[in-house]
Symmetry: C2
Subunit: 417 residues, 2 copies
């Protein structure tokens, strides 16, 4: 495929007219000095669009930001790691609002121009006494720093910052698109414990932006899974400030389609990066289902395989165990016929017509030993296909997720519980 | 609750007129001497009923036994561990049939009076050359041995045999009911990689037996989960030979209800035993959902919580992490309202109205540290409830399930692949 984009430095700070900042508040632990409160700010008004968790238990900042997004004029985002501000009741909403006000005032904005995002432990009150003193430093620190500080401050169990920026032409104008994500655990279709911020200096009216964001999320963040859980805080926010000088994109016009294509590419790259950096992940597996009777059937098969604990354990063991794959296909509730199913590892047949092939096992094991490989599942019943990206399940993943007691101990010290 | 049953020795061999036998064939590994082929035989004709995996990829013995069960006269079961005979095509069906014939002939039965069950690795042909020579020894070994040999021979990754037998009165007659199970991995609602054989000398016509079995499975084996996977081989078979001398039970009569109650109790005990003996399991957790708007909503909530990798990891860590519980409730797709949800650990409130309580954390940790505890989730929206039984996810579970390569190496030695 031709790649009509140029990679440029940075992330959300790369497009024209965006400034970023981050400070260390000690939200999770006051004794540890790390960036945990971030600010993204457009010096000019923006159109904005986003998608949010489908979990019915929504964190307070999600409720607030959904509300602000109805006006579609968010131009500033304040985000923290270390506490999700979820299951915190009215106090949580009050705290999220205080965070919005904390930066809206010094920036001279309305509260509804600010989005608020939080990620971290669920069920403990926000330690506002450690956040409140930092709004001024956060605003004063704003500068053209490409966004590295934001990518770093939103990390929780991520092992590295994940950001990306590109430039490309729409008509005669060069535009820039930048983004960053945090992911790691609870990554699942229908979104993840995942925050994604994207900025652009393209001139994208709200109707084009909204449609482009929904389509791009469907083909990126909704296609990845690490542990099959869906979080209370997932948020994708996209801000467009038009500072590239381009002519506004009309919803069904070619400029909108060009922008949508770039957005989809950027989101898919960021989504894949989340899987690669999943908690204690050692494998990145591209599961490609084809030949399903319907799109829904293809999706069911892909999700069943990508979420199966036994399949994921076998990936961790570098075992090309197609038996476990076909068994997940079987319980997916998709309409399948066992005797028509072919399964290939990186193009090498492991199962044809539902039966073991005579491919030497060592050849398949060599593929399953690679850090990244693809499994093709051909149902041979129709034309529908569906791609997903998944990871293995490691003993270390479970070990890593055994306890969040440390959070609770700190909240007790803080007098919050 | 009053317990109107008397526990008696043994399992499937305990009821009158049933004999059992088991031999060591080396199905998985010819160098290891362990029982892996079992026979249950009623000396008298039986009525029979059963339920099977809902996986669309069904093992050959499942297809065969489903077929035989249509006549409802199965009185003999041959079962093996070490190979599931799944994804083995026409050869698999041929092999399953050969196993039925292998014991039908020396016993003087029709093939349709024999059920065949297999459990083990998927996708490798059955090593029939190691099974075929043993039919005669298997039949000659039949004796009144309570069934311990069967319970042992069907084990795969189970750590101990799981069997149970009771006696109780129906009318003036004392009847006996015995059963054994194997489980361990891939245990999930909608049945498990699970074999369950139950025998009784009660006189239960087919219509009563069928209804009783379906109801009992719904409230036992469909309520347990270990890793959320559903296998290709799950089978429950119940044989009734009437040798207690009791008057036949009519479908809607009191004798049928009495039998159904005993069957439900026995199956639930066996099902719980499967969870307790799950692969590398350290916790047994009873999840009780109540106050849902509908039965389906209650079920969705229970299944989401019991299947969440993050919830199960926290159980392994003895962390009373109600935040992860409520977050699974949120993505269950049930109609819930966060601000109405109460969560109790063994009756102690951890979350009331969606918010953290002031229960001392140590008190909740003491409960989560016990090998068995209950989590009550009250949705406070209606009258429907649903109980499930689940286990933790341990690092050792993943480690244990990384590879089945040893199976493949043996199949290669056998010249089967």
């Amino acid at each position: 495929m031709d790649f009509p984009f140029t990679r440029i430095k940075g992330g959300v700070g790369a497009p024209k007219g965006f400034a970023t900042s981050a400070v260390a508040c000690g939200i999770k632990n006051p004794d540890v000095e790390r960036l945990d409160l971030a600010l993204i700010h457009s010096e000019f008004p923006c159109t904005s669009a986003g998608t949010f968790t489908t979990n019915r238990v929504k964190a307070a900042p999600v409720k607030l930001t959904q509300n602000h997004l109805r006006r579609g004029e968010i131009r500033t985002i304040i985000a923290n790691s270390g506490n999700a501000n979820a299951c915190t009741g009215l106090q949580g909403v009050h705290d999220a609002r205080a965070m919005a006000d904390g930066v809206a005032k010094p920036l001279g904005l309305k509260r509804s121009e600010v989005g608020v995002c939080s990620t971290g432990v669920i069920g403990l009150p926000m330690p506002m006494m450690r956040i409140d003193p930092h709004y001024e430093a956060l605003v004063n620190g704003l500068g053209r720093k490409q966004g590295d500080d934001v990518a770093r401050a939103i990390m929780t169990s991520d092992t590295r910052e994940k950001q990306l920026a590109i430039s490309f032409d729409i008509g005669k104008h060069r535009v820039r698109l930048g983004g960053c994500v945090k992911g790691a655990g609870m990554i699942c279709p229908s979104m993840a414990t995942m925050l994604c911020f994207i900025t652009t200096d393209a001139n994208i009216p709200r109707d084009c932006l909204q449609r482009s964001v929904h389509e791009a999320v469907d083909e990126s963040f909704n296609r990845i899974t690490i542990d099959g859980d869906t979080s209370t805080n997932d948020t994708v926010l996209v801000l467009a400030n038009g500072q590239s000088g381009m002519t506004p994109a009309r919803r069904s016009g070619p400029r909108c389609r060009q922008f949508a294509k770039a957005l989809r590419w950027l989101m898919l790259e960021l989504a894949k990066d989340i899987v690669r950096d999943g908690e204690r992940v050692t494998k990145f597996v591209h599961v490609k289902v084809n030949g399903a009777r319907t799109f829904a059937d293809a999706q069911k098969v892909a999700e069943a395989v990508c979420k199966s604990a036994l399949v994921k354990a076998s990936w961790n063991g570098e075992d090309p165990n197609w038996g476990r794959v076909i068994h997940a296909v079987g319980y997916s509730r998709a309409r399948i016929r066992e005797e028509l199913i072919d399964i290939h590892y990186d193009g090498i047949p492991a199962c044809l017509g539902g039966l073991q092939t005579d491919t030497p096992m060592q050849k398949l094991r060599d593929i399953a030993s690679k850090p990244e490989f693809a499994i093709d599942i051909s149902l041979n019943q129709g034309q529908a296909d569906y791609d997903m990206y998944s990871s293995d399940f490691s003993p270390e993943y479970i070990d890593f997720n055994r306890s969040e007691y440390a959070y609770w101990k700190q909240a007790r010290k803080d007098g919050l519980v």
